[in-house]
Symmetry: C2
Subunit: 217 residues, 2 copies
DNA sequence: ATAAATTTTTAGACAAAGCTAAAAATTAAA
DNA sequence: TTTAATTTTTAGCTTTGTCTAAAAATTTAT
């Protein structure tokens, strides 16, 4: 499988986890910053290899084989991110681009030994689940901070947006995975929140809250 | 730089360390198991980018820029090999193919952090030197076991042939980097050797001896 | 239900990197 | 020093993945 094929499969997989339905050509093109015509070409190729179910004009979905391949790529991506953060001491906002390259290294033995070396982590540095060697994923129940109501509290367990800007904002506010966050009050006008992290209080916009996953406590 | 360009540079570098002179198109083609015509195409491209000095029909050599790039690729290859053996517990005959992939990952920060994580090794699992971040190489004086005469002894410090077959043969005979090897006698007819490793004596062909580097003691 | 807007596919081109076959240059042999 | 053998380059073709522009299908609006 080429890097390009792998990137398409991964994109289709990610889009599927957001909207569980047939994925449109345009959605793929937008996410991959490429042209719809290129996507169509690739969908034909992936369909030929039985990695996707594709009927023209009807969108596309992953076959069992395609789903498994996609999960193995995601597994590699996230395990390498754990390696970079835990072992090489990278910050959580620096690892994605490198993992985009490392996820294409082909060696089952390598990834399984890496998994063992890292002590079989179930989540990556951004709180995303890591599929195991069989493709099984441990689902952690979590919700967006923006869904909590006043006086509710939760532990930060993940981020939706993984951009450097957002992650660095969280660093600046000393919000990390594991931080306990309490909703002090909610402004009905713009849905902004006053929250308490540790013993500090701060105001965050709804946009921030809608990109932080918490587990209610 | 593409994977392909990097592989050509690395090959030219390796050939240069063997025969310090202009490298021929055919030599490159043979080593890379490709066609001479493909090599010519690539040499033009590398020359255009000022990575090699190329005059047609006159062979090729690396420019300073090309030499540095080649060394950085070799550095990555060998550091990843150390990682695989020391941290992930791979055998020394299993790591080359994986390192062939990993050497193309682009991130200076990654390779320098890996270097630190591994404690700045100067040699890879096969005894080959690892260029530092500036491209400097610590040369260890070593010679082939086949060059020793009767009664001389040395410590095994490297292998010339790094094929799985050869490395596994050494494993079977319990010869590893660091093993002390003593030449008991040498057969003048075929240059085969009777050697002592640890407290075991064994016979080895000249071909074996000509692929083992030792440091005289 | 028809027209307009949007999405998706097709057709045709291009760059990268490889190949084969033929031509040109160099090197070795007679 | 010619001729023969070898090496290297050129010319032309193929595949992969991309693009633009135009055509076709689908969806939305009137
Ligand atoms: Mn990532
Ligand atoms: Mn991640
Ligand atoms: Mn190697
Ligand atoms: Mn090596």
């Amino acid at each position: 499988m080429t890097f390009s094929e792998e990137n398409y499969l991964k994109t289709i997989y990610h889009l599927t986890t957001l909207l569980d339905s047939e994925i449109s050509t345009n959605a793929i093109a937008e996410k991959m910053e490429t042209k719809a015509s290129s996507v169509t070409d690739m969908l034909k190729k992936l369909s030929e290899k039985n990695l996707v179910n594709y009927k023209k004009y009807q969108g596309v979905s992953l076959t069992d084989k395609g789903l498994h391949s996609a999960k193995m790529i995601v597994r590699k991506h996230r395990l390498w991110e754990v390696f970079l953060v835990d072992k090489l001491d990278f910050a959580w906002d620096e690892v994605h681009d490198i993992a985009e390259q490392l996820e294409h290294i082909k060696s089952e033995k390598l990834i399984n030994k890496l998994d063992e070396f890292l002590n079989f982590p179930t989540e990556d540095p951004h709180g995303d689940p890591i599929p195991n060697a069989e493709g099984m994923i441990v689902k952690v129940e979590k919700q967006l901070l923006s869904e909590l109501t006043e006086k509710q509290a939760g532990v930060c367990v993940g981020v939706k947006d993984t951009s450097s800007e957002f992650l660095q904002y969280l660093d600046k506010q000393e919000i990390a995975l594991g931080s306990k966050i309490e909703v002090m009050s909610k402004e009905s006008f713009d849905l902004s929140l006053k929250i308490k992290v540790g013993n500090k209080e701060l105001m965050i916009s709804n946009k921030i809250a809608a990109n932080l996953f918490v587990k209610k406590v």
